[in-house]
Amino acid sequence: MFKQMLAVQWRFSRKTIAAVSVLIAILPALTMRLSAVSTVNYTPRGLVQQSIALGLVLGMFAVLTGLFIYESTWRNDTSGKNVYLLSLPITWRQFMLNRLCGALLLLLLPALCLWIGGVIGTAFVPLPPTLHVYALGVAFRFFLASSLTYCLWSALVQFSGQKATLVFLVVLLLAIIVPVIIAITGVALPLETIFRWIADPPSPVSVFFSRWAIIDV
């Protein structure tokens, strides 16, 4: 059953996965090549900065990959009003677990491509001894970020209208009302501490704040 569910998920999302995989596999090489056009002699700092910039792009790709793969694998069910999956003799929990395992396997593919692409793309860069390639680490972050996005989106779309409204209101409160109140009342916010909460584990988004540089010191 898992094999069939995986095969069907692959069938639904293979174009998306192929496109994303190819893109992120060539992105490191492309970035290094583009930099070679302007800088034949790579400076270590320049390389690191460039890798950090590439990391930002990869982070965004990870989010988009998670979303696209969720959408492509679930679109058929939601457009069919879930009639088919609810008529199958399987508990919802089993179904979701199988789907998630399948999705994780599918999300591994772009991450693997990023790893290979990162290794190849940086292989021709003359690295000074103080710099190193961290393609595997970045690929793992990519996998983690895309999986997290997949699960987050999966939970969000399950929300009822009331819950979605509640989440929206909380976000609105945090984004707009709180800063206004702070500006008026002059209450001091421990911004640095708040940032640490957001950026460090066990924050759910800590993966996005970690080092995404393929080439780093």
Partner: protein, 301 residues
């Protein structure tokens, strides 16, 4: 043997307009149960509640001995379901759809699936989204039958199909039922189709089950009577008057349920004259039943 489907006091509400109230229904094991009702009467909703696809508000639903929706995954393993509309993944091929569906059923009969695919002339490599309505109906029936179910739940399985395809689909169904003795629950508004194959009938209207009886009782028990000189209010009638219309002068036309020939004497004792008794076909009976459920006769008539 226990009933295949047993529903008591089922309640459900969808928005402000539609509700199912106090629904009670029994589908005997081995029967072919025709579930009749006009469009929007609640047939599909009842089926979804029955299969655990919708959460019920109250009441109890037992299907093949499993309480629903808690035991849905156990019950669904023994149910072949053909929904109202094509529910399969549109981008898969026929072959992929069959393989995917088969992986969920322990009793899947691959040989039977292949035989039906050939019989229905379904090409394995065609994608589901490109199948004609008839081919899609055949594929859904194939998937329902090849699971070798104990219960077949068919929601308007032949709706919109041309006569040839309808004959193929119903033929496969009848053959399967004859071979395996499966219980069939078939919902439709095509009354003639039900008349041919069903041995039990349930009639749904406005979220209520207005009648549930064996097909022979349904067919034989509803009659149209021509009555002359009947009093406006009569007590102690041995049958149920579904409708009573004035035709000309003092002659009226009655539609009654539970008619027996010896009841003719009752008119003479009441000073009225019974001028004729006419049979109704199933469709006319169905229409009269709905009329009477929507505007019931006052008490005493």
């Amino acid at each position: 043997m226990s009933d295949a489907i047993h529903i008591r006091n089922l309640g459900y509400r969808a928005g402000k307009e539609f509700a199912i109230r106090d629904l009670a229904m029994t589908v005997p094991t081995g029967s072919v149960y025709g579930f009749l009702g006009p469009n929007g009467s609640g047939k599909t909703t009842t089926i979804r509640l029955m299969l655990g696809m919708l959460p019920k508000l109250d009441g109890e639903v037992t299907v093949l001995g499993h309480s629903m929706p808690e035991g849905a995954h156990h019950a669904l393993a023994k149910i072949g379901f053909v929904p109202e509309r094509l529910h399969l993944y549109q981008t898969l091929t026929v072959e992929e759809s069959i393989a995917y569906h088969a992986s969920f059923y322990k009793n899947w009969d691959a040989a039977e699936a292949e035989r039906l695919r050939r019989e229905f002339a379904l090409r394995a490599e065609n994608t589901v989204g490109r199948l004609s309505k008839g081919e899609a109906g055949k594929l859904m029936m194939l998937l329902a039958l090849a699971a070798r179910p104990d219960l077949l739940v068919l929601d308007e399985p032949t709706d919109g199909l041309d006569p040839v395809v309808r004959r193929d689909v119903l033929g496969a169904l009848v053959e399967f039922v004859e071979r395996k003795g499966t219980t069939v629950f078939i919902s439709s508004h095509l009354v003639h189709e039900q008349e041919r194959i069903c041995d039990w009938v349930g009639v749904m209207d406005g979220g209520r089950l207005v009648a549930e009886l064996p097909m022979h009782a349904f067919r034989a028990g509803i009659k149209r009577l021509r009555v002359n000189g009947a009093a406006p209010v009569i007590d102690g009638m041995p049958f149920v008057v579904l409708s009573r219309d004035l035709v000309v002068g003092h002659e009226e036309q009655w539609v009654v349920r539970g008619w027996q020939p010896e009841m003719a004497q009752w008119f003479q004792r009441g000073g009225a004259e019974l001028r004729g008794v006419m049979d109704l076909d199933l469709e006319e009976s169905f229409v009269e039943l709905l009329r009477s459920s929507r505007s019931p006769m006052p008490e005493g008539n």
